[in-house]
């Protein structure tokens, strides 16, 4: 019995020790990688070092190829770390200050103001190469007059039309609805709104009333002090939203999945969406046309253009390799064409874009995008997003007086910005 007791004690002790050694390994593993950049830094020139790049799973395969080519050319080892795209901004903001962040990350241009205000990115001088990119892309990647990233793709909304149900591109919103009603489908027209509103998808209609979010300066940069959203056009747009809500053409119960699902199953001749849904629609063998977005308020319906690109960490110890990789490699027409083949978004590089225009869908989305405006990248935009969609959803649902609600939203945004 004595022996038994002791062996029990031994067992417990050993389990504990084993568990402890595991946790100790955990802490060891956590701190170990931090030392590696330092050793690479002091290593002899023969070892060209390495770059850590955050990418999302979709872009990883093509970047892998690009990374292998780059390694051959320069000797620099590019380590790709796959991240969930929606988590990148958050993680980048948190990890760069600790020194654990990557050298380069993929990202969306509208994060830029926030990234700069938190001091986690640094400017990239494109020099003459800037002229090789679409203006809207360079504009989007600039903040306070400086370019912070190398753009690689643009994306924007356009109107998808099921040719079987509607034979010609509508010029105005009302014409579209008339066509849709004639088609006799469940919905005359589809756009995702969702219960919390989707101002990104409704923005083209808003601009067609002449109500951008912010005014711009002579260089096309957004001016946070010039909030335009509440102008008369905006109020007209609010009234229009209420009308459409009443008529049932805009529904908050339609979210992204429902909109796509219903269009794919032929329940509507029109769907306002971006290139991300084209594959699914093509797979369903729908006879597809991509049209400009019809105007609802008489002026041009301008969608937001979102630009994706690569940012350089402010704390990178491999700035030279990072700059080389981005400006002289990722930015080139060749690599941008390859990226386009995987991502199916119009490339930011002009030459690659021209080549990609051979694809009808890309050309059509690109044409709509040329009329678009970059989504604001100033940090004040966060305050706008916070109040914008909810107000739109409430107006569509008829819960509030449109003009009054729109004015209140404008006041809320103004208050949040000036805080």
């Amino acid at each position: 019995m004595k022996v038994k007791k002791r062996s029990l004690l031994w067992g417990t002790a050993m389990t504990a020790v084993a568990a402890l050694s595991l946790t100790a390994c955990g802490t060891g593993g956590g701190t170990a990688p931090e030392t590696s950049p330092a050793t690479e830094q002091s290593s002899p020139a023969a070892d060209a070092g390495s770059l850590t790049v955050w990418v999302d799973a979709n872009r990883e395969p093509v970047l892998k190829e690009a990374a292998a080519d780059f390694k051959k050319q320069s000797g620099v080892d590019v380590k790709l770390v796959i991240k969930d795209f929606s988590k990148i901004q958050e993680d980048f903001l948190k990890q760069v200050p600790t020194g654990k962040g990557p050298d380069i990350t993929i990202g969306a241009h509208d994060w830029l103001g926030n990234l700069v205000n938190n001091g986690v990115v640094q400017p990239v001088e494109l020099g003459d190469k800037a002229a090789g990119f679409q203006d809207v892309a360079i504009n989007a990647m600039s903040y306070e007059g400086k370019t912070y990233g190398v753009p690689y793709a643009t994306e924007n909304l356009a109107l998808l039309r099921n040719k079987k149900l509607a034979d010609k591109a509508p010029a105005t919103f009302d014409e579209m609805i008339a066509q849709g009603e004639k088609a006799g489908t469940e919905f005359p027209f589809l756009v995702q709104v969702s219960e919390v509103g989707d101002p990104f998808h409704l923005y083209p209609f808003q601009t067609s009333f002449g109500a951008p979010v912010f005014g711009t300066d002579d260089k096309g940069a957004y001016n946070p002090k010039d909030l335009q959203i509440g102008n008369e056009g905006g109020q007209e747009f609010a009234k229009w939203l209420a009308e459409q809500g009443k008529a049932g053409t805009l529904k908050t119960s339609v979210d992204a999945d429902i909109a796509k699902e219903k269009f794919v199953s032929g329940d509507s001749p029109f769907l306002l969406t971006g290139p991300w849904n084209v594959d699914a629609v093509k797979k369903a063998k729908i006879d597809l046309a991509i049209d400009p977005i019809p105007s609802a308020g008489g002026k041009d319906a301008q969608p937001f253009v979102a630009v994706q690109g690569f940012f350089v960490s402010s704390k990178t110890e491999n700035l030279l390799a990072a700059t080389e990789f981005l400006t002289n490699y990722i930015g080139t027409a060749e690599v941008q064409t390859k990226l386009y083949e995987v991502g199916n978004r119009p490339p930011a590089n002009k030459q690659a874009f021209e080549a990609a225009k051979a694809d009808e869908a890309i050309a059509a989305f690109g044409a709509v995008g040329e009329n678009g405006v970059p989504m604001p990248n100033i940090p004040e935009m966060a305050a706008v997003w916070e109040f914008w969609g909810v107000a739109e959803a409430e107006i569509i649902n008829g819960k509030a007086d449109p003009v009054k609600r729109w004015k209140q939203m404008t006041a809320d945004i103004q208050k949040a910005i000036s805080k």
Binding site: K2, T31, S43, A45, E144, A382
Partner: protein
Amino acid sequence: MSLTQERKPPQLSPAARRFAHASSTSLGAMLAKIIMIAIVDATALFALFTAIGREAWAIAGVIAAITAAINLVYFKRGWLPAKYLLPGTIFLLIFQVFVIGYTGYIAFTNYGSGHNSTKEDAVMALLQSNQERVPDSPAYPVTVLERDGQLSLLVTRDGTKMIGDSDDALAPASDADLAGYTQLQFADLLGRQQEVTSLRVPISQDPAQGSLRTSDGRTAYQYVSNLVYDQAADTMTDSKTGVVYSDTGVGAFTAGDGTQLMPGWSINVGFENFTRAFTDSSIRSALASVTVWTFAFAFLSVATTFFLGLFLAIVFNDMRMKGKKFYRVISILPYAFPAFLGGLVWAGMLNRDFGFINQVIFGGAQIPWLTDPWLAKFSVLWVNLWLGFPYMFLVCTGALQSIPDELAEAAKIDGAKPFQIFRLIKLPLLLVSVAPLLISSFAFNFNNFNVIYMLTEGGPRLENAGLNVGSTDILISMVYKVAFVGSQRDYGLASAFSIIIFVLVALIAVISFKQTKALEELN
């Protein structure tokens, strides 16, 4: 019996006794112990050196202390309780005390958007992003040269060569001047990246003209600095406007008129986050309504699930009930469903236009289950009832079955009616074992993030609230929104809220456990 043997040891000398004791521990066990501790020590040593290498003294100290404690406790004879307690204590320290302590620490800082790092980082980032390329200046094709370990830039333009380094401004150079320099190849540059990219070569003696800087080793651009950092005075000066920004203790360089340079840095703000939570009118009203709803939600969730669970347990416990097993299995099913999946599925079923509930059960009515403030509250409680009653059902079934039937029989003989038997005998006995579970269930629902976030995301939004909170938000989902939703993050405020929640839950738990003790004593 070994115990009696131990109490009456055979007559042996102390030395012999020690020998007998040691040999009773098998050699294998001894060896295993040494190996295990050696592994722990080796790993700890590695971690220790890494920590010291990074000058993380606090971490190094903690690692050293823990390792010392482990060695002492397991090599020392005796100290039996410590041998059992130590692993648990260490885990408690790492996973509970440290987390709470760190949250507490963050609650007293302004860590969040714009203040997410140290002052040193902020200065570096400000200087980095305020380098402006001189308008209309050309791009300079450059070669990086080296002499005696110092780097220079060689600019070749229109057939003329100019050379300069960080001390000497760019000046024309003849081939003779260039003797003694070696040109660095790209691979060499990669090995000295930081030196190369931090090299600034003044264009001329006039500093206002700026300096050349290259970030790829081939092309240099002419930059001027818009911000000048004066280390001694700890100020940033805008060289264009002359405005001086100084560190006024708010965690950012601030000008006389209050404008701040972003990024700032994280500082200790004392109780500001707590006072803000209770005094800032927009936060306070949101906090008040969310707190009330949190209590209501947690209480109603426990009450509804408990009564439904208890009711079903009693019904299925009745001898006359047929097909008990089948019903039991059916009612446990929701328990096998992950709460967040359940929330998502219910969110789809409750959709106003397309949901199963409205379409099929209410014949196409457009009932705003999730978007009307009161109906949304009801829906959340309903879904939580669906998810939560199986647990209460299981617990109550177990507790009921442990109550001896004789008690009920005796009461029956004494003339008690069935409801009296339940109310006066079974329920009190049941509560003794179930009450602590009700308290923990309350604490769980108090922080039941999954149901709220998956079903309504806290919505519909409260109007007139200065924070992004909705009418079904409970405290923990509000904390999540303050910390992680939108791009204006405020980790400091979120941590302060977390501390408030912690205090609330702790208070409730202490009070309720005291109450249940009273319950036990009554019996």
